[in-house]
Symmetry: D2
Subunit: 337 residues, 4 copies
Amino acid sequence: MIVVMSRQVPEDNIEAVLDRLKKAGFQIHLSRGVERTIIGAIGDKTRMGDLALEAMPGVESVVPILQPYKLASRAFKEQDTVVKVGDLAIGGQHIHVMAGPCAVESREQLLEAAALVKAAGATLLRGGAFKPRTSPYSFQGLEEKGLQYLAEAREKTGLKIVTEVMDAGTLPMVAEYADILQIGTRNMQNFFLLREVARVDKPVLLKRGASATVEEWLMAAEYIMAGGNYNVILCERGIRTFENFTRNTLDLSAVPVVKHLSHLPVIVDPSHAIGKWRFVPPMAVAAVAAGADGLLIEVHPNPSEALCDGPQSLTPENFQTLMKDVRRVAEAMGRSL
Amino acid sequence: MIVVMSRQVPEDNIEAVLDRLKKAGFQIHLSRGVERTIIGAIGDKTRMGDLALEAMPGVESVVPILQPYKLASRAFKEQDTVVKVGDLAIGGQHIHVMAGPCAVESREQLLEAAALVKAAGATLLRGGAFKPRTSPYSFQGLEEKGLQYLAEAREKTGLKIVTEVMDAGTLPMVAEYADILQIGTRNMQNFFLLREVARVDKPVLLKRGASATVEEWLMAAEYIMAGGNYNVILCERGIRTFENFTRNTLDLSAVPVVKHLSHLPVIVDPSHAIGKWRFVPPMAVAAVAAGADGLLIEVHPNPSEALCDGPQSLTPENFQTLMKDVRRVAEAMGRSL
Amino acid sequence: MIVVMSRQVPEDNIEAVLDRLKKAGFQIHLSRGVERTIIGAIGDKTRMGDLALEAMPGVESVVPILQPYKLASRAFKEQDTVVKVGDLAIGGQHIHVMAGPCAVESREQLLEAAALVKAAGATLLRGGAFKPRTSPYSFQGLEEKGLQYLAEAREKTGLKIVTEVMDAGTLPMVAEYADILQIGTRNMQNFFLLREVARVDKPVLLKRGASATVEEWLMAAEYIMAGGNYNVILCERGIRTFENFTRNTLDLSAVPVVKHLSHLPVIVDPSHAIGKWRFVPPMAVAAVAAGADGLLIEVHPNPSEALCDGPQSLTPENFQTLMKDVRRVAEAMGRSL
Amino acid sequence: MIVVMSRQVPEDNIEAVLDRLKKAGFQIHLSRGVERTIIGAIGDKTRMGDLALEAMPGVESVVPILQPYKLASRAFKEQDTVVKVGDLAIGGQHIHVMAGPCAVESREQLLEAAALVKAAGATLLRGGAFKPRTSPYSFQGLEEKGLQYLAEAREKTGLKIVTEVMDAGTLPMVAEYADILQIGTRNMQNFFLLREVARVDKPVLLKRGASATVEEWLMAAEYIMAGGNYNVILCERGIRTFENFTRNTLDLSAVPVVKHLSHLPVIVDPSHAIGKWRFVPPMAVAAVAAGADGLLIEVHPNPSEALCDGPQSLTPENFQTLMKDVRRVAEAMGRSL
C-alpha cells in the first residue's frame, strides 16, 4: 500500500505512520519528494483494513496496491477451479445451463419445467422456494413444499438442483435438498449468511450484488472460502446503472476480468440482468462468447401465468432456440454444451 | 397502471389483457389510438406486481402510475409520523443527533465516547456490537459484550441506544438492549430480517441501500409496517455512483423527496456517505438545512486508533464545532437542537 | 402520454390541462378514479416536450408512453437500414471491422497500422487527427497533416477512413478526407455539431455518450436524421458506472435493444469501453454474438510507444488472433467477416 | 505515480520502465517485494498521461498519486480565488444568486423576470439565448435577439448577465453581450470550446458534466486556465445516477470537496439537478449550508407557460420565499446575501 502524506507535514506525523506500519510487520520504503513524502508499505494485505492510517494526522490518502482478497485470487491458485456437483464439473470445458422458473409455484409447473429444460439440454434445474420480493404483498415462495418438489424433479429427471437460501435460520432445511446453494444478489454482503454457508459441504453460487464492484464480489467469495468452503461459483447478473430500459446492465466484461483476477468459475444470468425475455437469448450467447462457464436462465412453461418474473422468462420454444444458438457459439469457442 | 400494447396487435391479445385485469378487480379505461391501443387500469396497487402483464402476448410495456407502497405513503397518512423513543420524539420540531463510534471496541472507549457526545448535545448513542465488514479478516464486533457496554453507557448518561441488528438469529439478543434497531444498508432488502423486526416492539432505523431508489427504500419500510411495526425512521446514507473521491454520494434531495412521498421521519448519516471526516461537518449542516429530522454521526475519542471507520470519524473537538454549526442552522430553519 | 393529477385537485386544474392538450391537437381520454384523475393524451409525440404540463397546477406527473424519437424508430421504418460507404454495406449480413490507432501520430505509424489491419481482414481504418484529451497537456492530434496521412493510407490499402470531427469549424476540412464522420462520446449531445453533420453528405458514426440512455442516444440520431442525413451508424462504447476496474462498462445489451427500437445499424467499440487491451478480444467476440454489425478496435504497431490510449491498444499479433475468433463466432451466428 | 509490475516479471521489463521514466525526467524509487516489484516515480504530473506505461510489457497497473491538474489546484494557490464580475465578487463573503428563466422567450417575459429576481435580491440574471435541447423538435432559443433582450434587461436593472455559449462559432457574438460565459454540462469536455473561451477576457461559469468526476471537472477548468483565463467559476448541477425520481442527483458534497482540492469558487444549480420545482428550495438552502458561493436558480413569471424547463422553474412567490430562507441560513453560516 502507498501512504501519501499531506504537503508540509511535520516530521512527527511521518514518524507516527512509520511506527504503526513497522509494528504491524510491514516493510517500509520511504520517498521524500519535493511536493510530498510518500511511504510504500509491503506486508500482509489482509491486515491493511484495520490500520486506520487515513485517520492519522498528516495522512492525505492511502492507495492500496494489491487486491485485498487472497484465497480467491489467481495469485493464490494459478489453475482454474473446477467445482464438482455430483458428476458435473463446473468451470471445465463443458458449459452448463441451469434453467427453470423463477419460483416453484406448484408440483405440476415445476415438473413440466424440469422436463422441458432437460429435453433442451440443461443439466441443472433452478427454482426458488424462498423468494426475495420487493413488495411484501407479492408471492413469497412455497418454502419447504417447494424444496420437496425440486427434489422430486431431480429424481425424475436427473437434473441437479440450484436454489436460493435467504437466511441462516432456514439454511439447514435448504441444504438438505439443494445441490448448489444460491446466495442472491441482495445477500451478497449478508456476512452472517456467508459465514454460515461456509460451514456447509455444498457448492455455493454467489450472485454479484447489483451495486458491487468486482473486488467486493471477490471479497464476498473470500468470506466463504476463509470459512472453509472452496466450492464457490460466481454469477454475474447485472449491475445497477442509470440505464433503465433494461432492469439492470449486464456487465459481461466482468467475465474475463474475474477470470484474470481469480481462479473461480463464472456463470452469467442474463434473465435477471435484462428483465425482458426478448433480449435474453442474444445476451446468453454473448456471455458464452465472452468466456462464461455456464448460464442461469429463467424458463417457464407459460410465462404469462408466472407468479414471479414472468416478463423475463422464456417460453419452452424460445429456450430451445437459445440452446441451439448457444451450442453453435460454444463450439466456435472450442467448448461444448 | 397503463398497459401499452404493441403496434398492430391482434384483437384477442387485447381481450386477454382486459380479461385478466377485470378478474383481478381492476376498473378499465380503453384507448384505441392510431398507433397503439392503451389500457388504463385502476385498482389495488399492491396486486399489480403479481399480474405478469408484461409477459402476455402483445404487451409492449406496463407503466405504473401510483407508488407501489401504501402504509408508508403520504396518501395513507397526511400528518408527519413522530417516532417516540422513551421521552424523545423523532420527527418533530427538535433535531436529534445520534453519535458515537462505528464499533464498540472496549468499555473504556465506549464510555468515553458516550460522555463526550452527551456533553456536546447528542441525545442518542450509536455503536455497533455486530459489524458488517467487507473483509473477513477485519474486526467483526464484540457481540453481546458490546451490547452490555452500550447498556451501561445508557445507564450512566441517559442517552438512548441505536445499534445494528444483522440477522434474525441474533435479533432477540439485540432487541433486549437496543432502544432503536438499526437495519444496515446491506440488509435493506434482507426481507427475512425485515419481517422479523416487524414483530418486535422497538423503533427501527432503516438505512437506505447504497443502490436503492427512494421507491425501493419505501417498499422496505412497507415490509416492516405491513408486519405491524409502524415506528420506522428512514436514514439516508449515500448512494453508489461513479464518483469515487467520496465513498458514496450523499443524496440530500432524498430528504425533501421522502418527506413529500411519505409521512415517516428521515435522518441523515453523512459519515458513511462521505467516508472522509473532513467533509462530514458541512454535509451534516446541509442535511439539517434540507429538512432532516436528525443526524447519525461517527465520533471516536481517538479516530486514528479506531478499529473500524477511523478515517470518517470526528474527533471530540470537531464534533463540538459541528454541533454548534448545526444548532445555528437548525434555528435559522425554525427548529431546535 | 399520461397526465396524473394530484389527489383532490380542483376541477379547473383538470380543465386547464384538457384545454392545453386539445389546443395542441391531442386526442383525450379521461379517467376519473377514486384516488386520482388520469388523463391519456394521444397525438404528435414530438410536441410533448414543449407543453410544460408538469408545471401546471394540480399535475403530479407526466408519463410518456411512446418514444420521443420518430425517424430513428423501428415504427417509422420496419427494415434494417444498411449504410453504404463506397462499396461497403454496414448493417447487412457482413460484419465490418474498423481498426487502427487511437491517434494518427506519424506517416510511418499510420501506414504500418493500415497495412496490418488490412492484412488481418479489417475493411475500414480508424485514426484520430483531432483528439479530445482529458488533459490540456496531452497530445492533441496532428490535425490536417493527420487527415492527409489517412487519405494516403486509404489510397495505398483501399481501406475506408473513419475519423472524428470535434467542432463545426473544422467539419468542412474533416469531411473532405473522411469516408465516415465520427461523433465522439463527449459530443453526442453537442447539438450544434449534430445539426452541422446533418447537412454533410457523409455517413455519421454516432458514439453513445458515456452517460446517455439508449433513448437519448436515439434522440441524438434523430437530430442528424431530422436535418436530412439518414446515414447514421450507432456505436456502443461503454457507459459510466460505479465499477472502475474497467474504464467504463460495456453495455452489450444495448445492441439487441437498439435493434428492437430502431432500424439503424449498431457497432461496438470494446477498446474504449474496457480501457485494458487484455479484455478487448473476449468483448469483441461477445459483441458479434450479441448481434453487432461491426467493431471498432484500437490497434497500434507498438502500443507501448503510443501517444494516446496505448494501454487499450492491441498488438498486431493480438489483433490477428481476435479476427480469427470473431470470424468463427460470426459464422456460428450466420454472418460473415 | 506508482507502477505495479506483474508477478514474476523478467528483469528487462523492469529496466524498460525505469528507462522510460528516467528519460522523462522522473525521480525513481524502486521497491522489490516478495510478491511484486513496485516503482515510485516523482516528477512533472502533467506529463504522466503521455507515458503509456500501462501498455509496456510486465506492467500490471499504474496508480496516480497526485491530481493531474495544476493551475486549478489548492497546492498551486492557497487562497480562495475571487472572480470579479464588474463590481460583484464571486467567491468572497457574499453569496450571489443568479436567477431567471431557462430560456429567453420574449422581451416581455425576460424584462418581467429580471425585475422580479432583482426585487427578491438576485445580483445576476440568467437566461439562455442558445438552448441545448434533447429533442430536435423543441424550441432552440432566440439566438442574437435573446442576447439583445438580456442586454436590455441588464441596462434596466443593473443585473449582470450569465448566458450559455454552445459553440466556438457563436462565441464572439455571445461574448459581446454576456458578463459571464456559461459552459453547459453537455459541453464540459468540448475541448475545442474550452480552448476558445480561454482566450476571451470574460469569466467562465463551468458546469459539471452529468457524468464527470470532480477530477475531470477540475481538468476541464485546467483547460481554460492553461489557455490563460483564470476567472473560472465552477457550478455543481447534479450527476447521473440510478435514482430517477429526481432528474439527476445533486452532489452537494462536491462543494466542500472542490473547496479542499481547488481555490476556485463553486456555485450550485439545484433547478437542473432536481428537475422538480417543489424540491428546489430545500436544496438551495442546503447548498448554502454546505458552503456554496452562489446559486443558479430558474425562475419564470409563469412556469406553466414556459417554453423550456417549466417543471423546475419557481414562481415569483416561491422564489421570494426561497431567498428569505437562503438569507437566514447564509447569516447562520457567517455569510451575507
